[in-house]
């Protein structure tokens, strides 16, 4: 996973580290201050820095300044190049580069031809993709160094989960050329999850997280099992259709039609490159405005044929015309859950990350898909949510600060496949307890997809005291579907019990039938599987508790200990591995 540059990096004590999210559309830089990750604003005051370089008269511009040059200087502006790193020309998608410098084939890699030197007679130079990335990273690091007041030496950079080794190597090499030591490359969804889990109020829980990273040109969804603070990616899906630019396109079409309606004689602004660029820039800012307010204005001077255009749009209209894109995102998330072999009921948290996640409709759509107990971590649904554009950079900065004291060799060893690849138990391991109805129910202690070695401890009550049986069993879930009984409203009782259930176990079961009563009721229930061991704890005090601790070793042998809380001795037994 981790790769270090060819040359030896600085000593751990001399490192100044930051986290970088190097995105296809926007990038961010973050650092850690007082154990809290902060995203750094660049010279222009931007925290989301467009991943764009532009050359005008030999001057290099980057970020928002470069983005503005897409209108007037598109052929010398390089945009959307991150995904081309380490790829061959035949396997890249140049769609988004239509309105900027076009990628060209050059040997094994991709290059851009731009005039990066001053003077009319100067020939345009051909920049390889790695050179472009190096120049851009240098600017990012320069901004960070300026902000921090010391030279940034090392960074953790986030990459999509489907970045292959060649792409990673190309990124590390580009960073090394920019005089930046890459401590580690981490996956974007995991960085976002880490940013949430590192918040002081967060508790370590076993949970299933869906990270929907909705970016400008691509959307990636990852299903992550978070077990004791360790993350395992269960499934990922990648999509290049339903992303930010698709929403921009919807608005562009909308306003172009509006413009043509108002100015019958004018040319379609979508047919002129410069008009199109203006339309695109303004559409994007209108989209951003619609994420914050319910109304947004759109105004472009001299949109087409010197005709100015101004209009407004409300959020409802926007959501209507962009419905296809939103539904595409819904389907994407659902397909990811399905790919992981899970049900939406299994999901405990949905983290929305990436700029497009600001859109309130996406979050509210997702909260309709997932049960109510699932937390949708987006600004419009959860006030404490992190800024989706910043979560990954924060995660990278946190990871950077965690490993900055490690020698490069230590990082490499710690991230070696021998350490990261471990067995994950397929079935849950838990104990049997008795519910009010006197039925045996399964109480999960080690949830499925937990990486071993793992250790979990629960306290189970024994209200009657005396001798109790600790029966350790395997368990699994299935989705129980019950058709609603017509006109009965006894939901109240069972629901209260269920909420309690949800607090006890890590997995929550719930229904979302509250509003729509006709819908069938789906619940997640635990099925008791094969028995692993039985232990008897004798002489428990009335109202006492029994502590059950299960440790699964890396060879899949299991150690079970059971003792009364506060009591002495206890029972301990080992199950050998098969």
């Amino acid at each position: 996973m981790s790769d270090t540059g060819a040359k030896a990096g600085p000593e751990p004590s001399e490192r100044t580290v930051i986290g970088i999210t190097f995105g296809n559309s926007n990038s961010s830089i973050a650092y850690l201050v007082d154990d809290k990750a902060e995203v750094i604003a660049n010279e222009d005051g931007d925290r989301q820095i467009p991943t764009i370089l532009s050359y005008v008269d030999g001057e290099e511009y980057y970020g928002q300044q470069a983005k503005n040059f897409l209108v007037r200087n598109s052929e010398n502006t390089v945009a959307y190049f991150r995904d081309f790193l380490g790829k061959e020309f035949k396997s890249i998608d140049p769609t988004h580069n239509h309105a900027s410098a076009h990628p060209q084939e050059s040997g094994e890699t991709v290059s851009f031809t731009v005039k990066d030197k001053a003077g009319e007679e100067e020939a345009a130079s051909t920049l390889s993709i790695s050179e472009v990335a190096t120049r851009y990273l240098r600017r990012l690091v320069g901004s960070a160094s300026e902000y921090l007041g010391k030279k940034v030496t090392s960074a953790v950079i986030t990459v999509p989960t489907n970045f292959n080794d060649k792409q990673k190597a190309a990124l590390v090499a580009a960073a090394a050329a920019a005089d930046l030591e890459v401590l580690q490359l981490i996956s974007e969804p995991i960085a976002a999850a880490l940013a949430y889990d590192a918040r002081p109020e967060a508790k370590v829980q076993d949970k299933v997280i869906v990270v929907a990273d909705l970016g400008g040109t691509r959307s990636d969804v990852a299903i992550v099992a978070s077990r004791g603070g360790m993350y395992t990616v269960l499934a990922t899906v990648h999509d290049y259709e339903f992303a930010g630019v698709a929403l921009d396109k919807v608005l562009m079409d909308h306003f172009a039609k509006e413009f043509l309606k108002k100015n019958s004689g004018a040319k379609d602004p979508r047919e002129n490159a410069r008009s199109l660029a203006k339309l695109r820039l303004e559409s994007e800012s209108t989209k951003r405005a619609l994420s914050l307010g319910t109304n947004a204005s759109f105004s472009v001077e001299s949109l087409s044929d010197g005709v100015d255009f101004a209009s407004t749009i409300n959020r409802l209209r926007y959501e209507t015309i962009a419905r296809a894109v939103f539904e595409g995102i819904n389907r994407l998330v659902e397909s990811a859950v399905k790919k992981a072999g899970l049900d939406v009921l299994d999901v405990d948290e949905v983290i929305l990350s990436g700029g497009t996640s600001h859109t309130p409709r996406i979050a509210s759509n997702l909260s309709n898909i997932f049960p109510q107990s699932t937390r949708i971590l987006a600004p419009s649904t959860e006030v404490t949510a992190l800024n989706p554009s910043e979560a990954e950079a924060r995660g990278a900065a946190l990871q950077a600060s965690l490993i900055q004291d490690y020698e490069a060799e230590d990082i490499e060893q710690s991230t070696h496949a021998a350490v990261t690849t471990v067995p994950h138990v397929a079935n849950a391991i838990g104990v049997i307890s008795v519910n009010e109805a006197g039925e045996e129910v399964f109480v999960p202690i080690v949830p499925p997809e937990t990486a071993v070695p793992a250790r979990r401890t629960v306290h189970v009550s024994a209200p009657n005291g005396g001798d109790v049986l600790v029966k350790v069993v395997e368990g699994n879930t299935h989705i129980k579907v019950t058709q609603p009984e017509p006109k009965t409203k006894e939901n109240g009782d069972s629901k209260a019990a269920k909420v309690e259930d949800a607090d006890d176990s890590d997995e929550e079961d719930s229904d979302f039938s509250e509003d729509e009563e006709e819908e069938e009721k789906r619940e997640k229930v635990w099925k008791i599987g094969s028995t692993l061991a039985e232990a008897g704890v004798k002489g428990v005090k009335k109202g006492g508790k029994v502590e059950v601790s299960i440790t699964v070793n890396s060879d899949l042998s299991v150690i079970v200990t059971a003792r009364e809380v506060g009591g002495k001795g206890g029972v301990r037994g080992t199950l050998t591995s098969a």
Binding site: T232, G395, H424, I432, E500, G536, S577
Partner: protein, 446 residues
Amino acid sequence: MEATVVPLPLPALPEGWESENNFKAIGKITKESATQRTLEPVGPYFLAHARRARHKRTFSEDDRIQAQERAKKVEDNDDGEISEPEDPMMLQREAKDWKSQDHYKVLGLSKYRYKATEEQIKRAHRKKVLKHHPDKKAAAGRADDDNFFKCIQKATEVLLDPIKRRQFDSVDEEADVEPPTKKQLAKGNFYKLWSQVFRSEARFSKVHPVPTFGDDKATKEDVENFYNFWYNFDSWRSFEYLDEDVPDDNENRDQKRHMERKNTNARKKKKAEDNARLRKMLDDCSAGDERIKRFRQEANAAKNKKRLDREAAEKKAAEDARLKKEAEEKAAKEAEEKAKTDREANKKAKEAAKNAVKKNKRVLRGSVKDANYFVEGDASAATVDAILGDVELIQAKIDADEIAALAGKLNGLKVADEIKGVWKEEVERLVGAGKLKEGEAKALGA
């Protein structure tokens, strides 16, 4: 992870459930029921996992080691280094004698002295205050016992003020290292002892870094650098701290000014003394410095080398000349001897040639006699005479080699005609060569 609480009760132990150790192992987790997946190497819990995996620790071992490491960190933060035993005499000090007190010792920093950081001084002060605060003494039944507390306050006041601290450090004799005595040096350790002296002396330098004394292996450049630095030492040492108290009253201004002048002079004098002391110390040190001696010897050796080279060259030239002369003499002698032997050999060869000619001539004469002077019967005296006269004539006309060749032809011939043929042939040859005139030696050529 903390233990979660399950409110649902555990079932009661069934009747007749019995097992050794109260534990029955029934099933096991099979390898097939576990999936190999890759953990994301991110986050503190993964790093803990990696640590356990790499060091092959179990959870409880790792917990213990981590706890120990954390505990150690706390200990490091503790002020262990500034706790030194307090001298009971020191605790009796009066605060008004603060000029004579050792501020570092009061704060328990005597092993750090001028090296103590501000942070250390603050921490030491806090620690001492906590211990010696008058309120605490009062609680122990000793009211109004704030003498040592005042000492602490004074020490902190001096040490936390950079100017006052320098003044104190200037006269802090405890930090001085005395130059080594001859007796000490006699045991060796020259470099170590002097290094300590200069290290302590270096605290007064305005310029940093101060070159180190080095050791036996130091280069000439380093050593020169060191002595140059110290002979031009720029010191901030000053002696205000030893000033006599200036009366602080307005009544006697003259007295005050007198004291001030006196103090200024005293400072100047002390400063001059200090400079002299340093200079003497350096002189002493350089006098005993083996390196300087060695470098001087090396320099001398370099100077002498030229002269020695010249001498050697001269000596070599003389030797060469002598050898050449000898060789010439020897060659001359050899040449002489060779000439002599050659002469003798020539003489012998000439004699041999003469003898051979004589012998050949005898053969020539003998041949005509053998041929009976080419006549039948007894030859007349005139014939004999004519024939011999021709033989003589021919002999005179030809040289030794030809005589030898002719003799070779005649030798062994007995028949007169053959002999005559040879002679005739010879005569004709000579005539042809123009050595004989036609008609000469007609007795033989006929």
